[in-house]
């Protein structure tokens, strides 16, 4: 029996390896998501770089009016540089992220103990400027509170009595980069690809074969229909597996784009994690192919199958997409829900959290059970007379 399954498998793999559309869905589509993520990571990697502002070049107009501030900034390691001509246009163009404008009389007002004015020219719609703007705002805030505290102390008041709370942000994730939010985007992307990778093959080998009129001659051979289904199923599973592996490699590369500042991201795709992902999602690959087979067998035409199988990957990816915005606390029952359990486990693996072996076992067992039901159903559908002739 296995020999005949291998004959069908070999034929489908070779046949589809010659098909541009099958190769596209298995080899090229999986690269799209990682490519996009890579670009975003590389962009935000630059944005989030550097909490310490020292070494920053800060253009200051009218530096001669505010020597107190300039000296204080230079004391913090900031390079105060001359402003560009036409300050506002330069900021709009992005030549400078922030320009400080000190009006005449700044030093005099400061010395007099009154409020001295500063203009800060920024373009807050520019994402890349956000970090610099925050850094400058923090610096100016520090300058303010230092001098404010000093002035109060000179008047015999403890400034702390005017400050009921002191704010300090404690980060709880294992890493430190904002870009780790991208890890949350991986599970839905991964699941989408998993349901896409073999879709073309599933259609070509079932409804495609019927529409070409090659199914009837095939089924007259002395081969059980279960053998034909098994060969086609395994070929589709193989293409799905290729798509998944291609995407994992692409993700590993993409998560390296963050450079040293996002080291925790490229660590997220260590070899053990990748193996864990493959183990946890293998049953889901089989289930995905099972669903594809059932759909491609019950639909009446290739076009109809194409419509449904094109939409199919969105459905299992939805929970993962929602989890990006609203993470949930994991409960045992969730592991019995195929696709949802893999979404959660994948997230845990990528964040470097401890994954419960019981959860993995429940997830794999329930998904494999679903696969068995789907494959049996698909094989039953193959036994129907309507399979060959349509209805």
């Amino acid at each position: 029996m296995w020999q005949r399954i291998l004959i069908v498998l070999g034929k489908e793999v070779t046949d589809n390896a010659r098909d541009r559309r099958s190769l596209l869905t298995a080899l090229i589509y999986p690269l799209m998501g990682p490519l996009l993520l890579g670009l975003m990571i590389s962009a935000t990697g630059k944005v989030t770089v550097g909490g310490d502002p020292s070494g920053m070049n800060l253009p200051v107009a009218g530096a001669e009016h505010g020597q107190v501030l300039v000296q204080w900034l230079e004391g913090r390691g900031i390079n105060v540089v001359p402003p560009p001509p036409e300050i506002e246009k330069a900021v709009q163009r992005g030549d400078a992220h922030v320009v400080l404008v000190l009006p005449p009389g700044f030093d005099e007002d400061f010395a007099a103990g009154t409020t001295a004015n500063i203009s800060v020219v920024v373009d807050s719609s520019r994402l890349s400027a956000v970090v610099t703007i925050n850094q400058v705002a923090t610096l100016l805030g520090e300058f303010n509170s230092e001098n404010w505290g000093q002035r109060l102390a000179e008047r015999g008041v403890d400034y702390r009595s005017l400050q009921p709370v002191s704010l300090e942000t404690v980060k709880v994730s294992t890493g430190t980069q904002i870009s780790e939010i991208f890890l949350l985007m991986v599970p839905p992307l991964f699941i989408f690809n998993l349901f896409m990778g073999g879709a073309y093959l599933a259609m070509d080998t079932t409804s495609g074969e019927r529409e070409r009129g090659s199914l009837e001659p095939l089924l007259i051979n002395p081969v059980e229909r279960g053998v034909v289904v098994a060969g086609k199923f395994l070929a589709t599973l193989l293409y799905t597996g290729v798509a998944v592996v291609v995407q994992l490699i692409a993700l590993k590369i993409a998560f390296g784009f963050g450079g040293e500042h996002a080291a925790s991201l490229s660590d997220a795709f260590g070899i053990m994690t990748v193996l864990g992902i493959l183990l946890i999602t293998f049953p889901l690959m089989a289930a995905a192919v099972g669903v594809q087979f059932v759909i491609a067998t019950v639909t009446k035409s290739f076009k109809e199958a194409q419509t449904y199988l094109g939409l199919l990957p969105l459905v299992p990816a939805i929970p993962g997409m929602l989890l990006v915005f609203a993470p949930v606390h994991i409960h045992g029952w969730m592991m019995a829900v195929p696709t949802f359990s893999q979404t959660l486990l994948l997230g845990q693996l990528l964040r470097g959290e401890t994954v419960s072996m019981v959860h993995v076992a429940v997830s794999m067992a329930t998904t494999l059970a679903l696969t068995a039901v789907l494959v049996t159903f698909a094989a039953r559908l193959y036994e129907r007379e309507a399979l060959i002739f349509g209805e």
Binding site: I7, R18, L215, P217, L219, I220
Partner: protein, 241 residues
């Protein structure tokens, strides 16, 4: 030998076969002819195991089509109504695929493919991919595919449809050779001159029933007609076809 007994098949409200009996003997070419929609293709599909009859039975060399499907399929070579090929596979790969599914070993198989390629005149396209094959080339590939395992019984649904004269003659010769080897051929065609030339016996089917069976001479005598066309119309016309 193909032995068809009291075969009935209904599709929803349409009765396709209403109890047909006939025998296609070894060493003979039996022509199965009838007007469009008479039930020929349904009968063939039941014989080659992809449809199940509502009642009645078919025996292929004493193997029951209902209960010994795999044994039946091994004894059958079928050129079915649907001639679909895989556009990205070569003619040779098509024949090889079916040969392997029939359990042929590699050496035997390659020899057999070379032989069929010669016999059917396929050498100039045997290693070309099927996309863009002419109707004649397609029919030759499907015919070679049906013959690859040297089946004892051959079911041919319009085997020369789309073939040029030379290729049709090659197919006729092939059919005669198979008959002369003592094998059984069941042949469906709409071309009466071809039926007259190739078939030893004919079975005429109309409205899901057998309208007549025997050698052409026997049927002419029975109907008092002097041509196959006339006797065909006389026999099928009785049933208003």
């Amino acid at each position: 030998m193909i032995d068809v007994r009291a075969l009935k098949k209904t599709f929803k409200s349409v009765t396709a076969l209403d109890g047909i009996n006939f025998v296609a003997r070894d060493g003979e070419v039996t022509g199965l002819i009838g007007p469009n929609g008479a039930g020929k293709t349904t009968a063939l599909r039941i014989i080659y195991t992809v449809l199940k009859p509502d009642s009645g039975s078919v025996y292929i060399d004493d193997k029951d089509v209902g209960t010994e499907r795999m044994a039946v399929r091994r004894r059958l070579g079928v050129l079915p109504d649907s001639l679909g090929l895989y556009p990205r596979m070569t003619a040779r790969e098509h024949i090889r695929y079916f040969g392997r599914l029939h359990g042929l070993g590699d050496d035997d198989l390659e020899q057999r493919i070379a032989g069929l390629s010669d016999e059917l005149g396929m050498s100039d396209f045997i290693d070309r991919r099927a996309k863009g094959f002419s109707k004649g080339q397609t029919r030759k590939v499907t015919l070679a595919r049906a013959l690859v395992h040297t089946p004892h019984n051959l079911l041919l649904d319009e085997p020369t449809n789309g073939l040029d004269i030379a290729s049709s003659l090659a197919v006729h010769n092939l059919i005669r050779n198979i008959r002369n080897e003592g094998r059984c051929v069941l042949f469906c065609s709409h071309i009466m001159s071809e039926v007259a030339k190739v078939c030893d016996r004919i079975v005429i089917i109309a409205g899901g029933r057998i309208a007549g069976a025997g050698t052409i001479d026997e049927l002419m005598e029975q109907t008092g007609k002097h041509s196959l066309e006339d006797l065909f119309l006389a026999l099928t016309g009785e049933r208003g076809a």
